[in-house]
Each structure stands twice: as structure tokens, then as C-alpha cells.
């Protein structure tokens, strides 16, 4: 990449428990609205209901004809909605997508349709297993649906690395753009809270309780979630409207490689109330200037993409949003109050996975902006 070329984030499309579209996320961040919906399940011991962040895809009919959607499952609908919202946000909904690459990240993938296919296979035999269910259960199917509907002719890829799916996929986003393989990359993270995932969550962690307090890292407070967060990235050497730049995206192990925490920048933690990673966030973010917004969109492997959207909004608006539940902090760190100036030119999003691995994505202010990015629309 030449000295002046940069990767610019041009548009964001989000759907989750907070609502649909970047304006809804911005509102939830400003108001600290952390009220989830509910998930109802049938179990061997009777029906249960517990808090969960559910996403509504009804706005998809604004973009895609109902007939086109009839064979598309909930997971792919989330992806389709996120991708259309991101393109519309960038003002590129009607553009040709000849050299548009597509990268999707998901920890679980399309579990609802995959298990519906297995159920049809088990109940009706291999001869009568649904071909439509099978087609939708293939791992890259959401990317295929998006490519077909958009007429995108670039490469498409689905990355699944559980908690590190987002930062891992972002390394490919950068690579494709730096290589000049495509002109733009539509990148999105998707997670579906199917009945199966809800049941597995309930069996492993029990019914979650309100509120979610991820900065109280010694306590299990995670609430399961679903949603999609999509981003339109492009490489440019010219001034281009957008939210911010994608500076770096790395994954690694702090034990082996040290840990490249930003100096005076804001560190956005992906802590999501799960006790197994909570203490590690506390150790790594000790004495840092931090924020955490997971109580607004819940706990899911795609969560780091919502962190990314939140960081982009902070850079665009030049002010920090309040961290919900910031009073429940059990380690030494600085949490800026809501409305405080963003301060430094960079924000890093930290994601931890398992015992050792991490992902760190850094966004930067667009050159020539003073905080709020100039938008053409």
C-alpha cells in the first residue's frame, strides 16, 4: 500500500436486539438502552422463557421482493438485511457490484436450518431430506444469497473461528483490499439465536438474568443474542466520505507475542458477561481507558462486529457513549463518562477467546476530519 492509501469504512448496516439500522444503534448507545427481549423454549421439563436479544428482519422487504425470500432462512435474512443496510448507508445501494468482495464471519453459522435439515433426514430418511434445507445449511449459503441478490461478482468467503471469527475475517478484508483483488469488500458478522443454540445455552449456563454487567468480570451475567453487523470497506488514495479508517486487524496470543494495546486511545472491550473470559479482560485492560457496550446487543460470537460499529460511531461523532453498567467494575480502569470527547485518533476493539487467543482491531480518524466525518448523504 502506498503512503497515502487507506482502507475507509464507508457504510454500516446493523440489526440486533437494539433495533435495525445505524440510527437505532446510535440511539441505543446514547440512551444506554440495554433491555433485551425473551426467548421461549420447550424443554424436557416443560416450557421456559428467559432474556435474550432477538433481531427482527421485517425491514428486509424494503430491499428484497417477498418471492425472493421464500427459500431463505433466518440466518441468511439477517445477513441480507445487514448487507443492504450497509450499502444504503454508504449511498451505494443502486451501484453495480462487479468488483465487490464479500466476507462473512459467524461463530455458529446457520444452526436453525442445519438442524431442520438433520431433523428431516432423521425423521423422513435420506431420500426425503429437504433439498432446500440442505442448500441453506451449506456454510457459505448466506454469502451466496447476498451475491445473487446484489449481483456481486467478486469472491466470497465465510470465516468461522468462534469468538475470533470477526477479527480473523477482518485480516482477510484488509488483505483483499491491499492486494487490489477487489475494489470494495462487504464484510459482515452474523449470528442466529436458533432454538438449538438457545437450548444449548440454557443447558450450559442456565437461564440468564438481567442486567448484563460485563465489567464485573468475576460474575456470569451474559445474555444470549443474535444479529448482523455489516460494513462496506474500500481502499482509496483520495479523500472519501465515511466513518473512519481500518488501521489494523490482528489476531494472536499475548503469551507468545506481547500485547499491542493502544497508548492513550480508547480500548473497547468485547467482554460480554461470560466468566471464562471476563477475568482475562480485567488483567489485560488493567489501568486502560476503556468502554464496553455489549449490554446493548448481548453475548454472541459476532459481538465484536457490533463493537466495531460502536467504535466507528464514536469516531464519527467525536464523543464517547456511556458504558452501560459502568458502576459495576471490579478491576482498576478508567471509564470515560458519556459525552466525553473521544480524545485520541484511534480506537481499538479487543476480543478474547479461550485461554490465550486475542483479536485486536484498530479504527482511526479519517484524515482531514476533526472528529465528525463529512458524509455525502
Amino acid at each position: 500500500m502506498s503512503g497515502t492509501a487507506r482502507i475507509v469504512l464507508e457504510g454500516i448496516g446493523v440489526v440486533g436486539g437494539f433495533g435495525c439500522g445505524i440510527a437505532d444503534l446510535s440511539r441505543a448507545l446514547a440512551e444506554g438502552n440495554d433491555r433485551p427481549g425473551t426467548l421461549s423454549l420447550s424443554t424436557g421439563s416443560g416450557p421456559i422463557e428467559f432474556p435474550a436479544f432477538r433481531a427482527d428482519t421485517s425491514r428486509l422487504k424494503e430491499f428484497v421482493p417477498a418471492r425472493t425470500l421464500r427459500r431463505i432462512d433466518h440466518f441468511s435474512k439477517l445477513a441480507l438485511l445487514g448487507s443492504h443496510l450497509a450499502l444504503a448507508d454508504a449511498g451505494l445501494a443502486e451501484t453495480e457490484h462487479e468488483r465487490l468482495g464479500l466476507i462473512i464471519a459467524s461463530g455458529y453459522g446457520a444452526t436453525g436450518i442445519t438442524y431442520a435439515f438433520l431433523k428431516s433426514f432423521i425423521n423422513d430418511g435420506d431420500i426425503c431430506a429437504s433439498p432446500t434445507y440442505f442448500a441453506n445449511s451449506v456454510h457459505n449459503s448466506a454469502a451466496a444469497h447476498i451475491s445473487i441478490v446484489l449481483g456481486a461478482r467478486g469472491p466470497s468467503l465465510t470465516v468461522s473461528q468462534f469468538d475470533l471469527s470477526v477479527p480473523s475475517a477482518l485480516t482477510s478484508v484488509r488483505q483483499w483490499l491491499l492486494e487490489g483483488r477487489v475494489d470494495r469488500v462487504l464484510f459482515g458478522a452474523v449470528e442466529e439465536l436458533s432454538e438449538l443454540i438457545g437450548y444449548a445455552w440454557y443447558r450450559q449456563r442456565g437461564a440468564p438474568r438481567m442486567p448484563m454487567t460485563p465489567l464485573w468480570t468475576g460474575k456470569e451475567t451474559a445474555i444470549p443474542a443474535e444479529g448482523a453487523a455489516f460494513f462496506l470497506f474500500s481502499r482509496t488514495e483520495e479523500a472519501r466520505a465515511g466513518y473512519c479508517t481500518l488501521e489494523t486487524a490482528v489476531t494472536g496470543s499475548p503469551a507468545n507475542a506481547g500485547f499491542p494495546l493502544p497508548g492513550d486511545g480508547l480500548l473497547l472491550l468485547g467482554a460480554d458477561g461470560r466468566r471464562e473470559t471476563g477475568r482475562r479482560y480485567a488483567v489485560l485492560a488493567e489501568n486502560a481507558r476503556i468502554a464496553c457496550y455489549t449490554p446493548l446487543y448481548g453475548s454472541m460470537p459476532a459481538g465484536p462486529a457490533f463493537d466495531l460499529a460502536s467504535a466507528a460511531l464514536i469516531i464519527k461523532e467525536g464523543r464517547i457513549f456511556p458504558s452501560p453498567g459502568d458502576a459495576s467494575l471490579d478491576f482498576p480502569a478508567t471509564i470515560p463518562a458519556g459525552g466525553e470527547p473521544a480524545g485520541a485518533d484511534r480506537i481499538s476493539c479487543l476480543t478474547l477467546a479461550g485461554d490465550k487467543a486475542y483479536g485486536l482491531t484498530t479504527l482511526g480518524k479519517l484524515p482531514g476530519t476533526t472528529g465528525e466525518c463529512a458524509r455525502e448523504d
Partner: protein, 85 residues
């Protein structure tokens, strides 16, 4: 419920034709292309559905092609097979 009525209901529900109700379907209209607008993946799905719902396996391609002209021809084919024809 007649076989034609059953088939219309199955088409709407199992092929997820959300914009139609069973009463909207013309039993003599072509299933594929013009008419109901089904495609090749629907054809495969329909073969599976007929086996599952009626216990009829369609193996002869020529027979299947004739049966899949419309709801009416499909209903006649199913009734013929069920009565041992």
C-alpha cells in the same frame, strides 16, 4: 379435502409461497415458468414432498414431467398411483 385442495395447501405451505393463499392457485395453470413460477429446485422439493406426504416415489422422468404440468395433472397422477394405476 380433495387431492387438488390438499396439493394447493401443500404448495403454499411447504414451498413457502407467502404471497399466495391456496384459493389463489389456478389448478390448470402451469406449475413452472409462467403460471405459478416454480423453478428446478422447487421440482426437486416437490418430488420429496409427494413421497413424504403421499408415499409416492416418482422415478420415471417422463411420468414426472407429465404429472408436473399443473396442480390438476399432479392430482390426477397422485390419485392414479394411489388407486394402483
Amino acid at each position: 379435502m380433495t387431492t387438488v385442495e390438499k396439493l394447493k395447501k401443500i404448495l403454499v405451505e411447504d414451498l413457502n409461497l407467502q404471497e399466495l393463499s391456496p384459493g389463489d392457485i389456478d389448478e390448470n395453470a402451469p406449475l413452472f415458468g409462467e403460471g405459478l413460477g416454480l423453478d428446478s429446485l422447487d421440482a426437486v422439493e416437490l418430488i420429496v414432498i409427494i413421497q413424504k406426504r403421499f408415499g409416492i416415489e416418482i422415478q420415471n422422468l417422463d411420468e414426472g414431467k407429465a404429472a408436473f404440468q399443473s396442480v390438476h395433472t399432479l392430482a390426477s397422477y397422485i390419485e392414479g398411483r394411489l388407486s394402483g394405476g
